[in-house]
């Protein structure tokens, strides 16, 4: 199915669907995430039954502060689509899709590791890439970047966002 047709078909179920640069994005509420993913998987003509990736992005001073992003692919129909869920800053909880897609296990752990988003119902929500005793969630935009101590006496290299380039 081409992007427009797919968006139209998904639009029968999800109110907020858009096509940009040939990619289909469906924006759903957190409460409807699981049923929407199940619907996308089970419609024979949509068959988005392969979860390629789960990740998130963080935005300061706007609501939702987090966008959780699910990349879906259909081997049968050779098309793909994305489902996005917005979460507020103080309420970064979302149901885990690991029971539905076992591959989500590590993706959700990584997203938790980087953003501190809690996936409710995940079998083992622990840090995956960072050390277990790491403090903070480094891909959040409000994480201090820190400076690099240098070997020159009295000098430090400022954090990259304070160097005045770019």
């Amino acid at each position: 199915m081409n992007a427009e047709a797919l968006a139209g078909r998904i639009g029968e179920r999800v109110a907020d669907v858009l096509v940009a640069r040939g990619e289909v994005t469906a924006i759903v509420e957190r409460e409807h995430l699981l049923e929407t993913l199940a619907w996308l998987r089970d419609q024979p003509d949509v068959a988005l039954d392969f979860l390629a990736s789960v990740t998130a992005s963080h935005w300061l001073e706007v609501d939702p502060a987090f966008w959780v992003d699910y990349e879906l692919r259909s081997f049968r129909h050779k098309h793909r689509a994305r489902v996005k869920v917005g979460l507020s800053e103080g309420d970064a909880h979302i149901p885990s899709v690991a029971p539905m897609f076992p591959t989500a296990d590590w993706h959700e752990r990584e997203t938790f590791d980087f953003y501190g988003i809690v996936f409710d119902g995940h079998p083992d929500l622990t840090r995956i890439l960072l050390p277990d005793d790491w403090e903070g969630y480094p891909l959040r935009k409000d994480q201090p970047l820190g400076g690099v101590p240098t070997w020159f006496r009295g000098a430090t290299m400022p954090p990259v966002d304070e160097r005045g380039m770019a």
Binding site: D49, A52, T55, S57, K78, F101, P102, P131
Partner: protein, 421 residues
Amino acid sequence: MGEAPAFRDPTTGELRQETMIINMGPQHPSTHGVLRLVLELDGETVIRCKPVIGYLHTGIEKNTEYRTWMQGVTYVTRADYLSPFFNELAYCLGVERLLGVEATERATLIRILVCELNRITSHLVWLATSGLELGAVSVMLYGFRERELIMEIFEAITGLRMNHAYIRIGGVVMDLPDEGPRTIRGLLDLLPGRIDEYETLLHDNPIWRERNEGVGVLAAEQALALGVTGPALRATGIDADLRKDIPYCGYDSFDFDVPVRTEGDAYARYVVRLAEMRESLKIARQALERIEDTPGPVMIDDPKVGWPPRLSVGPDGIGNDPDYLRHIMEESMEALIHHFKMVTQGVEVPAGEVYSAVESPRGELGYLIVSDGGHRPYRVKIRDPSFVNLQALPAMIEGYLVADTVASVASIDPVLGGVDR
């Protein structure tokens, strides 16, 4: 799982029954990088396996957020270091889609050529290392010997053996060297015979078959549920290949097959990879022919995107074009200002979000790229196939012998630089 065997405790003398937990790695020769496997063993049988990753985490995704769009290429190429061109390609295709531009035709063909050669080098490293692990040391020597030939070609084209940063937004850094097509053609003539040699060594080799057949089996449903892609998925009977399914770079105009097996074991993955090397040779040959028939620039003709603007290797070996230097230094102040802005700020990418995926040697390599309209990426997520495929390891080895763990890890072909990013 049967009962654990009983043994007499040497200190108390009582009869006990328990399993043993051992760490394989993080620096174990058969873990293909810095991977740690926590194995619970009942005698020789693996009851539980928990991969522990993150030892090579370098924060590539976070780093790209504080560099210009063009500098991003030099970061992502270091993620999966055995397939650098694929990382560069997926990233650049994504940024190009955000910008709404396309690389020139010649640049696209060169991209395909280097990527397919890169697929061969990556599979050769897999062949060499897994041969070494299973005791086939001569295969290791042959694999690295042939890889070296291709690495020399990469060095001639890009200046570097790895981490090339050769594919850039809007094209490639520079054209093939004059002797490039002739050297590559020589290689393309040589390699089929060499692949036949590997096959002669391994295909009906009783030890190779014994160690790989029926080992690390994944059924198609299991592989799909665990998100496995690439040769490991195609070995389960599913002909999923992004080059055919959702073509990019005009792969649909090339003539090649997608090798598929149905057994789903380590041997099937070996057969698929060997066949893929032959298919890559086919594609590379077609790409090379078309490159020779397609003159033209290798960088997009858009001063706001194309970077570097012009390079030509002078007699001093430095890649600056004397005409361009004269233009910015002596003739035009505006050109100098533009040059300065391109170096310090780079391209400005309209706000938006794309997911750009290519078929890397290990499967679906996807880049989710988010722009907020600025000079730097807002978010770059690397969906690395090694990361996802490694998740299938417990399903492959739990219930089997610990010796099969080595063959199973090798058959996934994980690259820990990509797993940990």
